[in-house]
Symmetry: D2
Subunit: 136 residues, 4 copies
């Protein structure tokens, strides 16, 4: 069985745009941080999301998300977002994602994605090479 | 036992800002729509989130979210977002939220919130009257 | 000469997503409020931006913006955004937009837009009927 | 006379969250990119915007913005945002900002800022050392 243990990490900074009047990062924006991480992860594996969309007509969409917001992130914090494949199928990808402020875990999520045909919005298989790369 | 069945509804429109290059609403923005609905729901029950924050020093934060993204919403769609209390505690509130495009269910979520003291970010009881109003 | 005096008004509410850690609405979000107003204005004149994009392959893009941020808007404020055509050309539209909190003017902008062909991103004439409606 | 010529540069990537259904970056988001650049610029000069807000009770707000949107940025483009002081006063800062995709200038703006007291929202002098650093 394939071991899906390799973890990708993206550092990012919190700006004013990410925060709200509560003084901390607005909860929905953690999902944005996670998506940035997934895009850079695919890029790191050799797959550019823009090229996938334009050339292959394929894009990932989020089908389900479960997120625990444990600790707040604040203005100008330097965070690390991680991504790790939990399951890789032909059209499905399940990713575990975490957001850290140094050693402190702020947020943890399981994100279920699917690959769609950009024009029809119907399920379509992800490129085989990507499937292999994600499962490695 | 209290019946927590009453459903609050907020109509809203999808604008360019809500969409992404996939041509549909960006997934994280459904959480924004749900938060708008919760704010108007509290307002409808007589509780203004800005006044709660300034006068009582209390605010709701999202602690956990489980969301199913079933169907996409598109530019200029007229949606309806709903909120219904599943559980009302002293510091905890669990809300079921749905987003519809006419009869079609696009998105469904369970949002777990807690009331925090705005200054210390520690758990604090929500106003008793609000607790009663939510549970009605 | 056409009198371009008619003013369109859109009421809207400030939510957490619109604010930042400074406690007030994040400056870039006023541009979002103005765009919502322009979309509803076009709709009020009989032109749906989504249908224009899909059926006519035409969309408005902002080419230039000059904005004065005079007073802050705060969480849960009920605002009014206005739009008024200053100039209507074949491919160009200049709009004066203001944002009010009751009588207080918070923000004022001149927004220059152009109509583009959605596929080529080249300038293309706006529908003649829209040109007439805007200039009325 | 002080020469305000030094230019700060921040590279950044375009993600799905930044784009809209027109297929390109949503216009208001260029203002976010510019604000990210200003924050990193201050940081580079030794001033942390979060610490300034918490310790000195001072923050920058945008008072006026003039922006030309010349060319669109697209999903996953790697951009460079620049900032250069045009004028540095006791409470005012005027910054010229540009956004490039490699050699191509996409967007150019003049941003006028002021320093406010975080509590009173009244004008207050920026730290003298910051004034000196910006003017260098």
């Amino acid at each position: 069985m394939t071991d899906l243990a390799s973890v990708f990490e993206l550092p990012l900074r919190v700006y004013y745009e990410d925060t709200d009047a509560g003084g901390v990062v607005y909860h929905a924006n953690y999902l944005k941080f996670m998506e940035r991480c997934r895009c850079e992860w695919l890029q790191d594996l050799g797959f550019d999301v823009a090229r996938m969309q334009q050339q292959d007509g394929v894009m990932f969409v989020v089908r389900q998300a479960e997120i625990d917001f444990d600790e707040p992130a604040r203005l100008f914090d330097q965070l690390v977002v991680t991504a790790r494949a939990l399951h890789v199928g032909k059209v499905k990808l399940v990713v575990e994602q975490k957001i850290y402020n140094h050693d402190k875990l702020l947020c943890k999520a399981t994100i279920k994605l699917a690959t769609l045909d950009c024009a029809s919005f119907k399920l379509t298989a992800m490129p085989t090479a990507l499937q292999g790369a994600l499962a490695r």
